[in-house]
């Protein structure tokens, strides 16, 4: 409660500062911290470092931009630190759609609405894949098999995160039940599918391209249209599941950060993302380098929240 009051007062101060006019025009006056909710290494951290380097190299701000790793608890240690930071624009962070799922899982009591959304620095188109010589060649095969025998298809997931919810949503819409298995991060999921421990798992489209040589075969993508990288892989829509999902890189600032500071940050990210070198590096990371505005980002997250929330309640009520 106390913290909330403090935030409100700080927010009010922020509003007054805008009124005064001059304070914000100078932003930034000191180094900006980007909180990364994972440890160093890995796709999220590398994205942060690409953006940070671009900020520094292009001199977008006169100030230094630093990466602060705050891993733990499914990213919520980092997102909570951003949420509780002073809303002055000097502490920002980014995360993926786990912003929504962590609340749905009951790990934290806040979601994207507790932040000012700065924007989305690209997304990964996602899909599900199986081993090349598996008898599951399409989403229809998976649904047919599950329809004949519930839980007969195992899915490698990271429970409570989008890679867990997206297959859940898919199966829920198809009216079937899959076997969800906790495996862990991306490389462990890949190993689980390649080692035939689980049948399918969600991956990003560029990962399919990258690991095709190992025997990983995409069976469905959750995009609106077929992906140009995987022209032969049908969309979920083609299998009658009207579902469009992607994995976004969402940048947030604490609630109450002045609007024009958020706008400065938003413009800066947009500018970085239009750089050819950054685009190439993000593509290498499996991220489609497109900037998505704060409003569109919020709309996507709201949409996702509506898909995800009922599923956990269902799972919990089933177990009791």
């Amino acid at each position: 409660m106390l913290i909330r009051i403090k935030t409100a007062i700080l927010a009010a101060c922020g509003v007054m500062a805008i009124g005064a006019g001059s304070a914000v025009a100078e932003f930034p006056e000191r180094p900006i911290k980007i909180i990364v909710p994972t440890s160093a290494g890995g796709a999220m951290d590398t994205l942060g470092r690409i953006v940070q380097r671009a900020f520094d190299e292009k001199g977008i701000f006169d100030q230094k931009v630093v990466i602060v790793n705050m891993p733990g608890a499914g990213g919520t240690i980092g997102t909570r630190a951003v949420k509780d930071a002073e809303p002055d624009g000097y502490t920002i962070g980014f995360w993926h759609d786990g912003l929504v799922t962590s609340k749905a899982m009951g790990v934290v009591d806040y979601d994207h609405n507790a932040f000012e959304i700065i924007g989305t620095t690209g997304y990964s188109a996602v899909g599900m894949g199986a081993l090349k010589d598996s008898d599951l060649k399409s989403l229809d095969d998976v649904i047919a098999k599950l329809g004949a025998e519930p839980k007969s298809v195992s899915v490698a997931t990271n429970i409570g995160l989008p890679v867990h919810f997206n297959p859940l949503i898919t199966f829920d819409m198809a009216g079937v039940e899959g076997l969800m298995v906790q495996i862990g991060g991306g490389s462990k999921r890949l190993a689980a599918v390649l080692g035939k421990h689980t049948d399918v798992a969600q991956f990003a489209v560029p990962e399919f391209v990258q690991f095709r040589a190992s025997g990983l075969e995409p069976i469905v993508v959750f995009s609106a249209e077929r992906d140009e990288l995987l022209p032969d892989t049908p969309t979920a829509k083609e299998s009658g599941i009207d579902l469009v999902l992607q994995s976004n890189r969402i940048w947030v600032a604490p609630k109450g950060t002045p609007d024009d500071v958020v706008e400065i940050l938003s413009d800066a990210l947009n500018q970085v993302l239009s750089d050819a070198k950054v685009k190439e590096e993000l593509s290498g990371l499996g991220v489609t380098p497109v900037f998505i505005s704060p409003n569109d980002t919020t709309a996507m997250l709201e949409n996702y929240r509506e898909l995800v929330s009922p599923l956990v309640a269902n799972a919990k009520s089933l177990s009791e």
């Binding site: 990466i67 602060v68 799972a315 177990s319």
Partner: protein, 169 residues
């Protein structure tokens, strides 16, 4: 001479009671864990098993301690290594350990609550701890001062300017 086994017995009794209390604390915590959702075992099972195991072992140790206290001579042979540990010329200086712990805690606290930044807090901590552990001789004061300033500001320079660690300011 005969006092070592008795001391060992008291230590065992305290350890047994302490671990028993911890096991209960853990078990109560496990009672509040949500029931299994996505797997058959659930999150409460392993903590509960561990709590039982700790409680069992704690009782074993407690009983050993009580037995040792009841007849110290019989078990004196069991605690032979006690003699080796107690073979030092002077008794342990628990005051120094406790003070050092206090200094460390204070050092962390002043940074956590933003009273002092890393370079100054580190310098003060190293200087104070060096004096406490090393004594107040003139040589020690001088050496402590040099070392504390060198490490305090030197490491701050390296970590902040070169390596971008976000140390508390």
């Amino acid at each position: 001479m005969n006092n070592a086994p008795v001391k060992g017995a008291v230590v065992n009794i305290v350890l047994g009671i302490g671990c028993l209390a911890y096991a209960i604390f853990l078990y109560i915590g496990a009672l509040y864990v949500s029931p299994p959702i996505f797997d058959p075992l659930g999150s409460a099972a392993v903590p509960k098993i561990s709590a039982f195991l700790i409680a069992l072992l704690a009782v074993v140790i407690l009983v050993t301690g009580l037995r040792q206290r009841a007849n110290p001579d019989v078990v004196a042979a069991e605690t032979t290594d006690e003699g080796v540990a107690g073979d030092v010329s002077t008794s342990p200086r628990y005051d120094l350990g406790l003070s050092l712990l206090g200094f460390c805690a204070a050092y962390v606290a002043v940074m956590e609550f933003g009273v002092l930044g890393y370079p100054i807090a580190t310098t003060v901590f190293l200087f104070a701890a060096g004096l406490m552990l090393g004594g107040m001789s003139r040589r020690n004061v001088l050496l402590s001062l040099i070392i504390s300033v060198a490490i305090g500001f030197g490491s701050d320079f390296i970590f902040s300017e070169f390596f971008y660690i976000q140390l508390p300011r």
